[in-house]
Each structure stands twice: as C-alpha cells, then as structure tokens.
C-alpha cells in the first residue's frame, strides 16, 4: 500500500503514477466493498449479538484504518523530517484529515455498537480512551499545521508532533491486553490464528481491504491536491515578487 518511496519521491513520477492509480484504487475499493457488504449482510446473525454484529463490518476496519493511517503519517513525517522531502510532507499532511475521519467513524460506530452491547454509549476504558487520544493527536496535528504560516516550519513542527504521537499506537493496540477493558480482546490478528468464524471473517477482511483501497485512492487524490496547491502558491509568490 505504501508506494515505494524511492520510486515516487520524484514529484513528476508521482503525479504520473497517481493520475491512473487513484481511480484504479477507487474502483477496487468499490468492488471489494460491494462484495464485503453483500457477504456481511447475508451472513447469519451472531448467536450472542444478534443483528448488531453487522456493525462490525463497518467498525472494525475503521478502527484498523485509524491506526494504519497514523502509521502512514508517521512514516511520511519521518521521511519529511530526515530527508526534507516535500512530497513526503504533502503525504503526511494529506493523511491527517483522512485518519481523523476514520478515527471518528470508529468512535461513532463503536459507540453505536456499545449501546446495545454494554448498555452505554461510552465507557472510559483504556481502548476507547486511547482511541480518543489518537483522535486528539490528529486534531492537534491539523491545528498545529494550520496555525504556523511558514510552510517549511509547519512541515517540520508537524512531523515532530506526528512522531511523538506514535507512542500512542501500541497503547491503542495492546490496551485490551494490558488493561482489563470492557472492549473485547483481539480476535482477528492474534497469536494462534483468528477465533472468528469464516462467515464473519471473510466479509470482514474484504471490508478491511476495501477501506484500505479507498484510503489509497483518497490519499493519492489529496496528495495531488496538495502538490497543486503548493505549485500555485509558489507561482503566486513569484508573480508577486517579480
């Protein structure tokens, strides 16, 4: 999913690649999502959770993406900070609102699911709280970038913050193991294989891939937009000074 940075580091090559890659990812995302939703909604109801289990196909991939996007942002920030690469910075900046959206989706769907399952919209356990903190990190990143005017400085400050925020990711993932949470433990990616029945696992994984491809498409489009915006601003600056 993370495009080979060395190949795409060249903006021209990136623009050429993303011009056709973005629509392709979008098409894949739609196809996978249709398949996943079909299989998911024809799957039998869970014997414990009843029909509410269907929220899982929306919630779990969104929760995965909330972390995955942050990893992408972290890697891009690292590249931007160490190699001062403008495209990597554009990628980090473009990822933040997407990550925030996935996190918000995970929070909202989890909360909708929590009401029937736990009898409360929200509990302050470690999993839920650490996801909220993740959301706050996305907000803080965007707020920081928005309030620094010098692009280069905003890029580096944002990158430092994104790297600092990486420490929260292990907490999100292992919170269910480290603390005694209401949220259920890992059942898909765990030692000893998944405990989920294949009727649920297949559509879940399909939805996971669909989210991934959808993110890929949106990310590429947003990076392109960012590149265009920066080019336009540079041109305006040159024009103003000339």
């Amino acid at each position: 999913m993370i495009p080979a940075p060395a190949f795409l580091a060249n903006p021209e090559r990136f623009m050429a690649f993303s011009r056709w890659a973005a629509p392709m990812f979008a098409a894949i995302a739609i196809a996978l999502a249709l398949a996943g939703l079909w299989l998911g909604f024809t799957a039998p109801d869970d014997y414990q959770q009843g029909a509410t289990v269907k929220i899982m196909f929306i919630h779990v991939p969104a929760a995965w993406m909330s972390m995955f996007v942050y990893v992408c942002m972290g890697v891009a920030s690292f590249l931007a900070l160490v190699f001062r690469h403008a495209l990597a910075d554009a990628a980090a900046q473009a990822a933040a609102p997407l990550g925030a959206a996935f996190t918000a989706l995970a929070l909202v769907t989890g909360s909708l699911w929590g009401r029937p399952m736990w009898g409360a919209w929200w509990v302050w356990d470690a999993r839920l709280t650490s996801v909220l903190v993740l959301f706050l990190f996305y907000l803080a990143y965007m707020a920081l970038r928005a309030s620094l005017d010098d692009e280069a400085k905003a890029a580096r400050a944002g990158a430092i913050l994104a790297l600092v925020g990486l420490v929260n990711l292990p907490v999100v993932h292992w919170s269910v193991t480290w603390w005694n949470t209401l949220h259920q433990g890992a059942s898909v990616f765990r030692k000893g294989g998944s405990t989920l029945a294949p009727v649920f696992l297949t559509p879940l994984l399909l939805m996971g891939l669909a989210y991934m491809a959808g993110f890929g498409a949106l990310w590429l489009v947003r990076i392109r937009g960012e590149v265009w915006r920066r080019r336009a601003e540079a041109a305006a600056l040159r024009a103003a000074r000339a």
Binding site: D149, D150, A240, R241
Partner: protein
C-alpha cells in the same frame, strides 16, 4: 487640527528621579524640532508626555486653543521603538487595522504602502520583515491617516541611506502641508529643524 504645540516650564520625573525641568518649547504649523540629548536624557519620556501617556511633574503642555485630550486623541501620531506591530500578523492586516483605527481610508493605506514601497511585502508576516522594512511599515501609518503632529522617536535608525533621504522628503511635505514634527534623534534630520538639546539642568538650546 493641531496648529500649535506649547510646552511651558515642563519638568519630568521617572522612577523618582527628575529628568529635566523648566523645558519650554513652542512649535507652530510647518515647523520641525529635533530633540537631541545624551542617552537617558529624557527624549522618549518627553514624547510620551506630549502624547499624554505620562503625567508631567510640573509645567504645561498645550495645543493652541484645543482641548488637550481631544487634540491628543485624534491629532497626533506617535512612533517609537516599540512599533505596536504583531509579529504573527501580516503587514496588510496591521496596516489596514491601524489605518482604520486612526480614521484613515483604504485608498490612503494603499497609497501609503505604495509610497513606502511595501506593497509587495504586504502579505508577509511581520516577523519576516527586515528591520528597515518593518520600520517602513510603521512609517506608512503616518501617511495612511493624516494627523498634524508627528512624534517620532529615532525614526531613521534602521533605514538605509536612500530611505533616510526619501523619508526626509516625506517629512518636508508634511511640514509644507501645515504639519508639525517633534523628533528625538541621534543622527541629523534630513530637513531643516529647530534643534533642542535636552539637559538635566534648565533645558533647551
């Protein structure tokens, strides 16, 4: 509009120490006065007293037959070391704000920016301006809202020699239009001006 500045027997003290006393000075429309004096003599304090920011220990500061509070409120510009420009805002935001605050028009602001050649810099944040550019922005405020009495504290210092001369022309125009200038300086002013030297005993020369 202020047409006269009358300072009579003025004494100023800062932090319990008398800076000078018996300073008298009259300035009429079209005249400039260059205040000189050693560092710490009280030039800045005198300008602030004329602007009404600090109260004199003795003596009187009058503006012809205008009411002092009114004359100060809309008749004078003060330009000091601290120029009141916010480092995080853009030059345009600051110029527009101060122009309107001082009752000037948008056209006057544009014209002032043109005159001081800061038009291409208007979209930069203040903190990115060089010292001379920043001073020119502060000077643009003088032109963007016409007021008769200019109180200038070392107005020339960060300007390059070309701009010192050009600001001299601007001051000369202001005087020709009936303005008054009271400037504290260490370098000579590029316009003819009455020289007043501030000394602790008695005063002016």
């Amino acid at each position: 509009m202020i047409t006269r500045l009358e300072i009579e027997g003025l004494a100023l003290a800062r932090g319990g120490r008398r800076l000078f006393s018996r300073l008298s000075l009259t300035l009429s429309a079209g005249e400039a006065c260059a205040l000189t004096g050693r560092n710490g003599a009280g030039k800045t304090s005198l300008l602030r007293a004329v602007a009404g920011l600090i109260a004199p220990e003795a003596g009187r500061i009058g503006f012809g037959d205008l009411d002092a509070a009114e004359a100060r409120a809309s008749g004078l510009h003060l330009l000091g070391h601290l120029d009141g420009l916010k480092s995080g805002r853009t030059a345009r935001e600051e110029l527009d704000f101060w122009t309107r605050w001082n009752g000037g028009t948008a056209e006057a602001a544009t014209e002032a920016a043109r005159r001081l050649e800061i038009t291409p810099l208007l979209d930069l944040e203040i903190r990115r301006l060089s010292a001379g550019q920043r001073r020119r922005l502060a000077l643009a405020r003088l032109l963007s809202a016409p007021r008769a009495l200019w109180l200038l504290d070392e107005p020339l210092s960060p300007l390059d020699s070309d701009w010192r001369a050009r600001f001299g022309e601007i001051m000369a125009e202001h005087l020709a239009g009936g303005g008054l200038i009271l400037a504290a300086i260490h370098d000579p002013l590029p316009i003819p001006a009455r020289a007043v030297d501030i000394r602790a005993d008695g005063a002016a020369a």
